[in-house]
């Protein structure tokens, strides 16, 4: 299975860096999925959740509060102001769920976008 490199970077450090089979990004104009070999694109990201699937079908969920994504054929780099990993390869990180919700609520996006993202996070548990 081909993979694509995903990097999620904040000013505080790297939140996630690894190879995944598929990424779903929360773009300003709606969610979009990225598979390996995607055409190059730069997009604004809204506050929301970035989800990714690894090669062995594990799900990764990271809450972000807006930023940028640069997609190229072999790499997705996202630059965000803040990010909290809600779920990684090992499973849900319950301690981070509250933090993720706080992060989303502090961002300056529309309430509906936040509400959608929060409910997504809650459904993970």
């Amino acid at each position: 299975m081909s993979t694509i490199k995903l990097e999620i970077v904040t000013p505080q450090g790297v939140i996630y860096d690894g190879d995944v089979a598929m990424v779903t990004l929360c773009g300003k104009d709606g969610e979009f999925g990225v598979l390996p070999g995607h055409a190059s694109v730069v997009s604004l990201l809204d506050a929301g959740v970035i989800t990714a699937k690894t090669a062995n079908n594990k799900e990764i969920v990271v809450a972000v509060n807006g930023g940028y994504a640069k997609v190229s054929e072999e790499k997705v780099s996202t630059i965000v102001d803040g990010a909290v990993a809600v779920k990684d390869e090992t499973g849900a990180l319950s301690a981070n769920i509250e933090k993720a919700k706080e992060l989303l609520k502090s961002s300056h996006t529309s309430d509906t976008a936040i509400a959608t993202a929060v409910s997504r996070i809650e459904s993970i548990k």
């Binding site: 450090g13 190059s40 190229s72």
Partner: protein
């Protein structure tokens, strides 16, 4: 000649100081390690963001002749220069803050000799109190930020600076802070924040694939650049904090050693004084005995 009691008291007090300075050194070295990690972690972000700006700038350059953005318009003779100076909130760190202030003073003199007026924006208690004492007007001042850097607050601060640049109130913005090199060295770092030098953003490797940018080039570039400014400000803060801790560590180490030296000297003095006292006492006894004969 100080009395025995006086010397004893002095030794005790110096020993007390030594304990404090040693503790401060340990605290600083622990904090330094943390600050160092923060700096290291944020480096990844810096690389990414400059990469992205470079690529978008290159993309725009493909369609347009040159970058036509107020951020990139350089002025040959700036009339108004804003200097953002970052110092620590706390003292007891050797020449750390005075170095920065000295440098800023030299910069002010330089710009003023070129006929520009300088406006100061100070971060950190030490810079604020210094310039207040000098009766220099400060456009903006924040304390409490340099001892606990916060991205959000740094962003708010720099936003005001960028806005005043866009309004044409200033032609040039410089950020000065004392940066961290390693455990024993700090160096003054100067960032020419605005206007940006387009040459700084020429990509090393031009990608051949067509880059699609949503919603459009200019708004993405502008927002990215704003983020870049925020980051530069934030980086100045965390770098300065790391440098502050390393400077304090050094200063406290020197202070501990000096205290040790002082205790040694005082002990010698104390022993001499004690010896003298014993000798005088002996002479007194002997001469007393002699006179009784």
């Amino acid at each position: 000649m100080a009395s025995l009691k006086d010397i004893k008291r002095k030794i005790k007090s110096v020993k007390g100081t030594q304990k404090t300075t040693r503790a401060m050194k340990l605290v600083s070295s622990a904090k330094l390690r943390r600050a160092e990690q923060v700096v290291k972690a944020s480096k990844a972000y810096a690389l990414k963001i400059t990469d992205m700006i470079e690529e978008i700038a290159a993309n725009i350059a493909k369609s347009q002749e040159e970058l036509d953005h107020p951020y990139f318009k350089s002025v040959a003779n700036p009339k108004v220069v804003d200097i953002v100076v970052v110092t620590s909130d706390k003292g007891l760190c050797g020449g750390f803050n005075s170095q920065t202030i000295k440098f800023v003073n030299a910069q002010i003199a330089k710009f003023e000799s070129q006929g520009a007026s300088v406006r100061l924006r100070a971060i950190g208690k030490k810079a604020i109190s210094y310039f207040k004492f000098q009766n220099r007007e400060m456009l903006d001042q924040i304390d409490g930020l340099s001892s606990s850097p916060d991205y959000q607050k740094a962003a708010e601060f720099i936003k005001k600076v960028v806005e005043s640049y866009l309004n044409g109130e200033t032609d040039k913005v410089v950020v000065v802070h004392n940066g961290y090199v390693n455990m024993i060295t700090q160096e003054i770092r100067v960032d020419n924040l605005l206007p940006l030098d387009p040459n700084e953003f020429t990509p090393k490797a031009v990608s051949t694939s067509e880059l699609e940018i949503e919603p459009d080039d200019d708004s993405v570039l502008e927002a990215l650049l704003n983020r870049y400014f925020e980051y530069i400000m934030y980086y100045a803060l965390i770098d300065s904090l790391a440098a502050e801790h390393s400077a304090r560590m050094q200063a406290m180490d020197a202070a501990t050693n000096n205290a040790k030296e002082m205790v040694k000297n005082l002990t010698v003095q104390y022993n001499k004084a004690r010896q003298e006292a014993i000798t005088t006492e002996l002479i007194e006894i002997i001469s007393g005995v002699e006179s009784m004969k």
